[in-house]
């Protein structure tokens, strides 16, 4: 039954909207754009920032339109002098307690507060006085927190609690001194933060951002004549890096990206999707073994470092169920310093392996102590899409107008299966294509595996050799938690589960382009779909669409590795997981200076 329709008048225009709609949403229907700062549709509806104030006839006070429900016959004015003045004053008050170091802020020109100040023509600082002084937390390899830039919108709190369900943030202190942070203003490293970076994507200012420690390392390595610098591009980068250059969401720029990287001076430009193909071979074989022995089922994928950290913190009992295969990034890194080094006859010590990832948890992953190969870091530097975009811009390379180039051999050719790793459900689909073939000897039909793409919480049953297997996908850690709880309670029986920390998969990762845009949340979610579709398009254009048919993967196994899950693979690619404490009992004290309390 549809809800009751309500008629009202906004700025002299008649509007009809469903009961329960807010003024903000009703105004949007008729093209009136009310400014917001804390609002994220359906996710964060708090009325906290007060910049969406409007005048409602009969109400003596101005109301926050994001939480103001419409009523029959209501007459709303969204742009009277009083409203404009009040909104401007709200922005001025936010700025009175803001560092205002915009020129050197990471969110410069991509900040919602900044663009609102510009829109409302704020010139000069009308209110000056005491400012909060809170230390910066830059101890984690992934996230930097600058609480002084926090405007108390609560978006990070809500997203971390409702979407990610790690719930590491809340408001610390009270009144003037308050800011969003982990409990006791702990460093991220003392929390069960998964480093998924969804909080970074929704932060309206520069209060939360990624560590950019690796950009300089990459520039230096590129300039070092003794270093042989190789780069691997994660599957999703090809469908998002264009956005850094103003290209429409979903632009597929694989060839241009390769040209740009070659111009930057990388000695070899490789495709991380090749690593993904190898992961499919290993993970698929592992699953076939486990299924045959009925041991450690369901098997969970382990490609997503956010999910791995989540499991280590929240579900340590599941760790034996995680696939022991490292993520494509680490598999690739290991190969670059063994297989590739031997093939070209370069001392692995002189190989500098860069990865470019849609993800900030990958920075954490690359620094995990076990992620080494023969005593060397498998991956030396991890760049997010945003950092790579910046490097390309700094080098003066006009990516959108470049011609196409091909990836280098021997680790540049990937099958379509490797490419779709970046899209939601892609890891499962890629694995299915190979597992099905290994078990039946036949190619899987497209309609069979496509079913897994549809939803961020789904499962499909497939009969293979008379045995029914159930495969499930959960994207977004909140969905994952829900699914896992059902599995643990015995309500859901599955055999193989793909879990991705970010709601849209890697294409909506915490390292992807950020838009200082209203309705950010849905924009990111929609963007995830379009970016993912770009990857599926590339998959369809590929001649080889299954990992086990990739000639370079065959060559790798024939000449170097032997069998999947063989001795060499185990040594290079397989990992173990660590149960982690939820909260540090003896916290790192950099952030322990208590903010002054009155």
């Amino acid at each position: 039954m549809s809800k009751k329709k309500i008629s009202l008048e906004i700025d002299g225009q008649k509007v009809q909207a469903e009961e329960g709609t807010t003024i903000l949403e009703a105004a949007k229907q008729i093209g009136i754009d009310i400014p917001t700062l804390c609002y994220l549709k359906d996710i964060n509806v708090e009325g906290a920032c007060r910049v969406c104030l409007v005048e409602v006839e009969g109400d003596p006070k101005l109301g926050a339109s994001c939480v103001y429900e419409i009523k029959e016959g209501m007459r709303v004015k969204t742009s009277t002098p009083r409203v404009i003045k009040a909104r401007k004053q709200m922005i001025e008050l936010l700025l009175s307690d803001h560092p205002n170091t915009c020129l050197t802020c990471i969110a410069n020109q991509n900040c919602e507060l900044q663009s609102l100040a510009a829109k409302y023509d704020v010139r000069g600082f009308r209110y000056t006085g005491e400012r909060r002084r809170i230390p910066i937390d830059d101890l984690s390899p992934s996230i930097v927190r600058e609480p002084e830039k926090c405007i108390m919108c609560r978006r990070c709190i809500t997203v971390c609690k409702e979407v990610v369900t790690a719930s590491i943030y809340d408001i610390n202190e009270r009144g003037f001194h308050s800011f969003a942070a982990p409990a006791m203003n702990d460093s991220q490293i003392d929390t069960p933060c998964t480093y998924c970076g969804q909080c970074i994507l929704v932060c309206p200012t520069g209060a939360l951002h990624e560590q950019r420690q690796d950009t300089e390392l990459v520039w230096e390595a590129l300039a070092d004549p003794n270093k042989h610098v190789v780069i691997q591009t994660a599957p999703s980068i090809r469908s998002t890096i264009g956005e850094m250059f103003g290209m429409p969401i979903g632009s597929l720029v694989t060839g241009k990206l390769v040209t740009a990287l070659k111009r930057l001076g990388f000695d070899r430009v490789f495709d991380d999707c090749f690593g993904a193909d190898v992961v499919v071979m290993e993970e698929g074989t592992e699953f076939i073994h486990r299924f045959a022995e009925r041991k450690r089922l369901p098997q969970f994928t382990s490609c997503c470092p956010g999910w791995v950290k989540f499991a280590e913190n929240f579900y340590p009992e599941l760790l034996p169920h995680l696939s022991t295969v490292r993520s494509p990034q680490q598999v690739f890194g290991a190969l670059s310093k063994t297989y590739y080094a031997e093939m070209v006859g370069i001392d692995p010590n002189n190989i500098f392996c860069v990865s470019t990832m849609p993800c900030i948890a990958k920075k954490f992953e690359a620094r995990r102590p076990e992620m080494t190969v023969n005593g060397l870091r498998a991956v030396d530097a991890v760049l997010t899409t945003r950092e790579l975009g910046q490097i390309i811009k700094q080098a003066g390379i006009d990516l959108p107008n470049l011609s196409d180039s091909e990836y280098d051999e021997p680790m540049g050719y990937a099958s379509g299966a490797g490419v779709i790793f970046g899209a939601g459900g892609g890891v499962m689909e890629a694995t299915l294509r190979t597992v099905y073939n290994k078990l039946t000897g036949e190619a899987m039909r497209a309609d069979q595996y496509k079913a897994i793409r549809s939803d961020s919480y789904t499962s499909i049953d497939i009969e293979i050799r008379g045995e029914k297997m159930r495969f499930a996908v959960a994207r977004g850690l909140g969905n994952a938690r829900h699914m896992i709880d059902r599995i643990l309670a015995g309500e859901l029986k599955v055999d193989l589960v793909e879990i991705m920390a970010c709601p849209g998969g890697c294409v909506s990762g915490g390292g992807q382009p950020i838009y200082s845009h209203k309705d950010k949340w849905y924009m990111q979610v929609d963007a995830g779909g379009q970016r993912g579709n770009a990857l599926f398009r590339e998959d369809e254009s590929k001649e080889v669409r299954t990992a086990h048919n990739n000639p370079w993967v065959k060559k790798l196994y024939a000449e170097y590795l032997g069998e999947p899950m063989g001795e060499r693979s185990r040594q290079l690619f397989h990992s173990s997981y660590t149960k982690r404490p939820m909260y540090g009992r003896t916290p790192h004290d950099l952030c322990k200076k208590e903010p002054a309390r009155v």
Partner: protein, 181 residues
């Protein structure tokens, strides 16, 4: 030097209990008797929704302050994120994460008391005890706090030491009042 030694000697050696043997980092040093009392409170309120403030209030009564460990313990037992627990603890001024002195001295800074010279009283207390509001003396005897109107304006200016109210006082009387404790 003297103070350090004193601290050392007053530091009790609590029985140590590992919550989890393979996770040495999350060792909880348990003051068993107090945690047992807290457990009783938690048993009662575990399944009651919205009981966080009540539990924290009881916990502070038991421990004197809400240390990090106590907050994490409460968070885990109630299934509430630690961030939310600290959010509540840091919001309400009645909660404290720092150990408190034996006596809390509250200086009323309400309008009436302020006009009648509570500023001077506060200055005197600060210099005599050598601490700022919110801090505790090294010997652990006094914690100094300022407070909003206590509702006894006819006695202005007033201070509260523990549960005792001292009204109509002057800065000069402070030394004498403190000798009673």
């Amino acid at each position: 030097m003297r103070v350090e030694e004193q601290n050392k000697s007053t530091k009790k050696t609590h029985p140590v209990k590992y919550k989890d043997n393979d996770l040495q980092q999350t060792v909880i040093v348990k003051d068993d008797e107090k945690y047992e009392k807290l457990d009783l409170v938690l048993d009662e309120y575990e399944d009651v929704e919205g009981s966080l403030v009540t539990v924290l209030h009881q916990a502070q009564k038991i421990f004197g302050h809400l240390s990090r460990d106590v907050q994490i313990y409460v968070a885990e037992r109630l299934g509430v994120p630690f961030a939310e627990v600290y959010g509540v603890v840091s919001f309400y001024s009645l909660f404290t994460v720092q150990p408190r002195g034996e006596y809390t001295i509250e200086v009323c800074m309400g309008t009436a008391c302020y006009v009648k010279g509570s500023g001077k009283i506060l200055e005197k207390l600060k210099s005599q005890l050598g601490i700022e509001p919110g801090e505790t003396t090294e010997d652990g005897k006094y914690t100094l706090e300022t407070t909003r109107c206590l509702g006894a304006c006819s006695l202005a200016p007033i201070i509260k030491i523990g549960d005792d109210v001292h009204g109509n006082i002057t800065a000069e009387q402070i030394s004498e009042i403190l000798t009673k404790y």
